[in-house]
């Protein structure tokens, strides 16, 4: 057993750290650290900086502009970003669609779409879920009917994150009603500016706008935008989902949030003592810290097995459950530690142009909002109940 990084890995870690130190914008970090949503422009500027360094898509092959990072390098990069308070790389293009195109797309598709992800010419969103098809994704109904060189797409997608920013969407559509539902699904790429597409915002309970409904009526999509073979989309979709679920441990982000929480608890007073001295609070905090330490090792064990060539199977479900729940626990305790201040909801308090009263401590501006918003973590990317079904089936053979 050896939990140490190699010399090369250590050097890489130092390089990442100093890059982050030199390139992160303090104002954006401030937002990230206080849990406040960043703007599209904030994301785009950060993507561009990373791209200049070749780190926007570090795991990609060199020929497409990547650095061919292995799982450990990817891990180091993500951990350093997490603890520095860097904005998360918007995953839909570089993290989700790209692996699918590299494995199943045509050479022409790779050559066209991959560079555009790096330059930011395209902002992708993920069109899987539908009103009637969430956990039971294979039941999806949005149809694509072949008509000459085009597919005609009709139907509705929902919960589409950042569709309001996107100019492209990768969609699962139904191209056949024969056989099992999984056998009639195709994976296509649709231009969001096509006639017949309408995007409507869905506001979440915390008042923010990150998800949308998308309506498709007679939308013409060129056949060359089909990825892989017709009716094989389910295989590609599942491949993408395992990519979506790894990297859900979020250990560094959670560690940073715990540090922040400790600081809050040192400054707050309960019974005229620092809240951090309160035995109830201390016990809650310690339990989360222990859970997180355990997750760190569980996650590294998964990574090590991937490094040795084993595919991450149901193990990624373990990480998804733990990563989401631990982060939710931290958000929960952060909200609690703010006491009455948790009533406040002023997510704009750190933006230029805010002219309301100063929120103190700053974390209080959106702590409750964040807590409620992060209930999504156990719902999306396959709900935690679905992850347990996967574990039951694939690991326990029940």
């Amino acid at each position: 057993m050896d939990l140490n990084f190699t010399k090369k890995q250590e050097n890489f870690q130092i390089e990442v750290r100093s890059f982050l130190n030199d390139n992160l914008e303090p104002q954006v970090v401030e937002k990230v650290k206080n849990g406040i949503p960043i703007t599209k422009e904030d994301s785009e500027r950060w993507h561009q900086k990373l791209n200049e360094k070749g780190w926007l898509a570090g795991t990609w092959p060199k020929k497409y502009g990547g650095k061919e990072w292995d799982v450990v390098e990817k891990f180091i990069f993500e951990e350093e970003c997490g603890s520095a308070g860097a904005p998360r790389i918007v995953p839909f293009g570089v993290g989700m669609l790209a692996p699918v195109l590299m494995k199943f797309g045509s050479q022409e598709q790779r050559d066209y779409w991959l560079p555009r992800m790096l330059t930011g010419e395209d902002w992708w969103c993920q069109g899987y879920s539908e009103p009637g098809s969430g956990s039971d994704l294979a039941s999806l109904k949005t149809s694509a009917v072949r008509d000459g060189d085009y597919y005609i797409v009709n139907g509705q997608k929902t919960w589409t994150t950042f569709a309001q920013h996107a100019n492209m969407i990768f969609c699962l559509v139904r191209t056949s009603n024969e056989g099992k539902p999984q056998e009639g699904i195709s994976f296509i790429l649709i231009d969001m500016n096509s006639p017949g597409i309408e995007v409507r915002p869905i506001i979440t309970l915390d008042g923010s706008h990150e998800v949308n409904e998308i309506f498709f009526s007679d939308v013409k999509v060129p056949v060359k935008n089909l990825v892989g073979e017709e009716n094989k989309g389910w295989t590609y979709a599942k491949y993408l989902l395992t990519h979506e679920r790894t990297g859900n441990a979020n250990v560094a982000v959670s560690k940073r949030k715990i540090q922040k929480l400790k600081k809050l608890a040192d400054d707050a007073k309960k019974n005229e003592q620092p809240l951090s001295n309160d035995p109830m609070f201390a016990s809650r905090l310690a339990q989360i810290e222990i859970d997180l330490q355990n997750l760190e090792i569980t996650n590294l064990r998964t990574l090590a097995s991937v490094e040795n060539g084993e595919a991450p199977g149901a193990e990624s479900s373990i990480i998804k459950i733990l990563g989401s729940e631990i982060e939710q626990d931290i958000d929960n305790l952060t909200r609690k530690s703010l006491g009455k201040r948790a009533f406040v909801n002023e997510p704009d308090a750190l933006s230029t142009g805010y002219n309301g009263a100063e929120v103190f401590p700053k974390a209080a501006a959106y702590a409750s909002g964040k807590y409620f918003n992060h209930r999504k973590k156990s719902i999306y990317a396959g709900s935690n109940e679905i992850q347990k079904n996967i574990i039951s089936k694939l690991m326990l053979n029940l």
């Binding site: 879920s129 009637g132 098809s133 969430g134 956990s135 039971d136 039941s139 929902t158 919960w159 869905i202 506001i203 979440t204 309970l205 915390d206 008042g207 998800v211 707050a268 007073k269 309960k270 019974n271 005229e272 809240l275 309160d278 109830m280 609070f281 809650r284 929960n332 909200r335 609690k336 530690s337 703010l338 006491g339 009455k340 201040r341 948790a342 009533f343 406040v344 909801n345 002023e346 309301g356 009263a357 100063e358 929120v359 209080a364 409750s368 909002g369 807590y371 409620f372 209930r375 999504k376 156990s378 719902i379 999306y380 709900s383 935690n384 109940e385 347990k388 079904n389």
Partner: protein, 373 residues
């Protein structure tokens, strides 16, 4: 043994329940709750016409209720309706304090009923001190026998529209001492008061109030100088009973919404309520909510018993805090994405339910208090 409410209270509850279902639209409520005022004046007036305030106030002050049972009945109904208008702040906290005051102050209670004033208790100070006796706002006695107060009150609900503040302050004793606490009842336009207000996550506005050398006359004290802890304490205990009952109403509504959803939402060809994993989760919610109800009944029964009140109130607030957060989180999860939306009722109930734990002491505070009593 009989746990049924009296016929009159059952009628009151049913009337309010029906009224909220038919007349208090949740989408209108949400717009008002997140507006600059934080509630709807129109809804406030319509609900006053129903006699809700009277039902919270003693007959000797022109009300027709005011007992613990009245309060828990009415607040359970207010919880079901997710009512954001200031019944707690005005009808309970301010009215209870003023009812212990001099004639002029008592007459303010009558004015509340006539919609001529909106007094608000300004008690809470630092964000994380929940102790009822925690008061640092300073009251100093001037040479001419008048007073001045200076200090900050934080997170005071519905303060920006208030006509009067009932400000707790101290002239002697440590920050948490029960001795030395006074209450001053002053108009909100008095010189030296600054109000900073914020939007909230669960609806309504909250404000930080800064008092700088605000003049007070001796007639403006509620109760005797330095002797008013028991007044505040009783008002807050009544407030706790009220919001625990409110939480019950919210939980019952959440239970209905969630159960309905489990029966109608289909995935994999069946209603999701057919999955045993889901059934057990829902069954557990039912079990917990029954326990929450019992804790509130217990607190109601012992409310007028001076030796038992604080202990049963802490037991109820602890139970409601613990169970409320669980019910909110589980119900959202069981709804999937739908539970996350602004458009659907559930999230708004869930937010209020969780935030009730931040008012008058959270579950940890009341567990420790229970141990100490």
């Amino acid at each position: 043994m009989d746990f049924k409410p009296s016929p009159e209270r059952q009628i009151l509850f049913d009337t309010l329940k029906k009224y909220f279902e038919n007349e208090y639209s949740l989408s209108d409520r949400n717009i008002a709750a997140h507006s600059d005022l934080g509630y709807s004046k129109k809804a406030w007036e319509a609900m006053r016409d129903l006699g809700i305030l009277e039902s919270l106030i003693d007959p000797e002050l022109d009300g027709f209720g005011g007992t613990a049972l009245d309060i828990s009945t009415v607040f359970e109904a207010l919880g079901r309706g997710l009512v954001v208008e200031p019944f707690l702040e005005v009808g309970i906290l301010a009215a209870k304090v003023l009812s212990k005051g001099n004639e002029a102050q008592k007459s303010l209670v009558k004015k509340i009923l006539e919609n001529e004033c909106l007094p608000i208790l300004a008690h809470s100070e630092t964000d994380t001190e929940y102790s009822k006796s925690f008061v640092e706002t300073k009251l100093s006695v001037e040479a001419d026998g008048s007073y001045k107060i200076s200090g900050t009150k934080r997170m005071i609900k519905h303060a920006s529209e208030a006509t009067h503040f009932l400000v707790t302050c101290r002239n002697t004793g440590d920050a948490s001492s029960k001795e030395g606490i006074s209450i001053a009842c002053i108009p909100t336009d008095r010189e030296g008061i600054k109000i900073d207000s914020f939007a909230t996550i669960d609806g309504g506005r909250v404000s930080d109030l800064t008092f700088t050398n605000v003049n007070i006359s001796s007639e403006e004290l509620v109760g005797e100088l330095g002797m008013s802890y028991s007044i505040v304490s009783h008002a807050i205990d009544t407030g706790i009973l009220a919001i625990c009952s409110e939480a019950l109403g919210i939980m019952e509504r959440i239970k209905e919404l969630t159960l309905e959803y489990l029966k109608t939402r289909k995935q994999f060809g069946v209603p999701i309520g057919k999955f045993q994993a889901i059934q057990h989760r829902m069954a557990q919610l039912l079990v917990e909510i029954e326990q929450a109800r019992s804790s509130v009944i217990n607190a109601t029964i012992y409310f007028d018993d001076e030796t038992e009140r604080e202990k049963t109130i802490s037991a109820a607030k602890f139970s409601i805090g613990k169970i409320g957060t669980l019910v909110a989180e589980e119900s959202i999860q069981l709804h999937g994405g739908m539970g996350m939306t602004w458009e659907y009722d559930l999230g708004h109930y869930a937010k209020r339910l969780v935030l009730i734990d931040h008012e008058f002491g959270d579950e940890d505070f009341h567990l420790q208090k229970y141990i100490s009593l």
